[in-house]
């Protein structure tokens, strides 16, 4: 379990304000919100690339707030899929093992098979599509054995059918490898498709967490309703029975 305790962060006019949240292990968690709401910053804080101004990050019971990124055993796939251009696909994937000072070609092949990228292993990075690069970045994180995976807007640049394919793949990978996934996105459709839990982050504030296994989602406040594009919002005055909608 990853626990955020009263996380604050400030960058210019933007701030994350007192984020408290627990991400249960072996679940697919979504942090959903519009662009500029602090989702990527939150991931960078969890991964260790950014330090919070105050607050703590616990991994199970251990305080990892001051741990370096490589000490956290957390896989992080940024939005722009950083792959090494001078390495081929296999070497890029193997880099995940290199960090762990291991070498295991069979395991790379096994992961590549699961992600259906075996035919790409000898290719140059420059020859790949956006969707292929995402799979390779995912493979690199999986071979490293990280049980926690942070995904930053993985579906944002994909068209509809590729987006669906990636969502199916991510859901399968999470279940198969028993990963704790935290994916941030502004894409409502993929959020509700994948998330076991969905947490709304808007303007640096946590607004609502929804258990997606429930049947009917109900927005808690106007900000969440507005973000979701719910148009039927009205004012009324409560009466014993029934309520009156003013004309």
């Amino acid at each position: 379990m990853i626990t955020l305790k009263n996380i604050h962060y400030r960058a210019g006019a933007f701030s994350l304000e007192g984020i408290n949240h627990s991400f249960e292990a072996d679940r697919f968690h979504i942090v959903l919100g519009p662009s500029g709401s602090g989702k990527s910053i939150l991931l960078e804080i969890i991964s260790g690339l950014l330090a919070p101004a105050s607050g703590a990050i616990l991994l199970d019971e251990e305080d990892i707030t001051n741990h370096l990124p490589e000490q956290r055993n957390i896989g992080y796939l940024p939005q722009d899929n950083v792959l090494f251009p001078h390495l081929d696909v296999k070497e890029n994937i193997a880099y995940g093992l290199h960090i762990k000072r291991q070498k295991d070609d069979d395991y790379i092949k096994e992961i590549a098979d699961k992600l259906e990228i075996t035919h790409l292993l000898d290719r140059k990075i420059q020859k790949l599509s956006g969707g292929e690069m995402q799979r390779i970045a995912l493979a690199r994180s999986l071979v490293a054995g990280n049980k926690i995976l942070l995904l930053d807007e993985p579906t944002s640049s994909l068209h509809h059918s590729l987006k669906n394919e990636l969502c199916y793949l991510l859901g399968e990978i999470q279940e198969q490898f028993k990963l704790t996934v935290i994916m941030v996105t502004h894409d409502i459709e993929s959020a509700f498709m994948l998330g076991n839990t969905i947490t709304f982050l808007i303007d640096g504030k946590k607004h609502q967490t929804f258990n997606n296994l429930e049947n009917n989602f109900v927005p808690f406040n106007g900000e969440v309703a507005k973000f979701l594009g719910i148009k039927n919002i009205f004012e009324a005055k409560g009466q014993t029975r029934p309520a009156t909608v003013p004309h």
Binding site: F220, I230, N232, E235, A236, K237, G238, T244, V245, H247
Partner: protein, 104 residues
């Protein structure tokens, strides 16, 4: 206009509230089935102002005969293909009481 809301313990007498309903939770009552809905609350009569065809559903903008509200209705294309909904058509809709939510 009066509405019945179910399952909202926060609703207090006299308190102004903001409430909503998702467009997919608005039901269209077709003329041949009006009798079935005789005793159902939250029926609103009005007119279809605009119909937008989406990938798998229609978005219908509905204007009640009383009040100024514009209500958005989402209707599955598979059902819509069986009937003829046109702009300007008089219609009755129903807001399901258990689907109305109060915003905080």
């Amino acid at each position: 206009m009066e509405l019945t809301v179910e399952g909202n313990p926060d609703l207090e007498v006299g308190r102004r509230i903001v409430f909503g309903i998702k467009s997919e939770d608005v039901r269209i009552i077709f003329p041949e089935r009006i009798a079935e809905y005789a005793n159902v609350p939250n029926k609103i009569t009005g007119v279809i102002r605009k119909i937008y065809r989406r990938a798998h559903f229609l978005t219908i903008l509905f204007v009640p005969n009383t009040g100024k509200a514009l209500i958005e209705v989402q209707y599955p294309l598979t059902k819509a293909n069986k009937i003829r909904l046109v702009e300007g058509m008089a219609l009755e809709i129903m807001l399901k009481p258990d689907r109305i939510f109060i915003l905080h």
